[in-house]
């Protein structure tokens, strides 16, 4: 058990370090001749127009919101799915009720037109 997590920890560290190696290699080998035009942001080959910080649609945020709630709820379902085998039928119905409440939220958002790209 503990050694499992030790392995994961080592994996995370090594997995983060190894992708850096080609970057360092590239830094050593590649030419480096910066100039202002090269280093300006790229925009279809034209000069950059206006602020690079654009206000984007609030709809992205609505989807992220719905996602957050669903993400937490599906995470709750994992212990339920694991315990399913050892438990009586009405516990399964408990999970079904849980999913039903989840779907009610989805239906609400749908009916309110929140899932449209308005």
């Amino acid at each position: 058990m503990e050694s499992d997590w030790l392995y994961i920890g080592l994996f995370l560290v090594v997995g983060l370090i190894i992708p850096i190696v080609p970057l360092i290699l590239s830094r050593l080998v590649a030419p480096h001749k910066p100039n202002p035009i090269k280093q300006s942001t790229y925009e279809c080959g034209l000069e950059t127009v206006g602020e690079s910080w654009v206000q984007f649609k609030a709809q992205y945020y609505i989807f992220a919101l719905v996602f957050l709630v669903f993400d937490v709820e599906t995470v709750f379902l994992f212990p339920w799915a694991l315990a399913l085998g050892q438990l009586p039928l009405f516990v399964v119905l408990e999970g079904v009720l849980f999913i039903g409440i989840l779907v009610a939220g989805l239906v609400y958002a749908w009916r309110k037109g929140m899932l449209e790209w308005a």
């Binding site: 503990e2 609030a58 609505i62 212990p79 516990v91 408990e94 409440i101 989840l102």
Partner: protein, 171 residues
Amino acid sequence: MTASQIVFLLSAALIIGSALMVVTTRKLVHAALWLVAALFGVAILYGLLEAGFLAVVQVVVYIGAIAILFIFAVMLTRKEMRDTGPQTRRSWPLAALLGLLVLAGLVFLVLDMPDVARTAVEIPAEVDTVGALGQALVSPEAYALPFEVASVLLLAALIGAVYIASGQKKE
């Protein structure tokens, strides 16, 4: 000094350092990313405490969902990339003082607790904590009610948040 103590101290340093950056850095996107680092440190602690399920859930929920939502919100409420103006209230020294006082009080309480230097009992190898968690969460004798209530809470949050964020479309 054993291996797990070293891991604990490293992740504690990560958590405290990133948390300090969260509350002091000027750029809000950076603050959100430092929050991700702090939360990742907490996930390491859960791994150390052999609560594997919580460790991955921490990453899935906090880093995968909550941090993303924060970054979205920061970018939605900003006109430009750089944050301008003072980021703290004028009364920040008072807040710092209060924080330190609370910390001192809590540390005093913790050290005063009986048997606080205890070490953990071994979890027997055959005990499946993830399975036991599932059993506890859905069996009616244990936590079935909080389980259902949580879903109602999330439903309420979803409805409320979607209603507020979408703005009244009447106008």
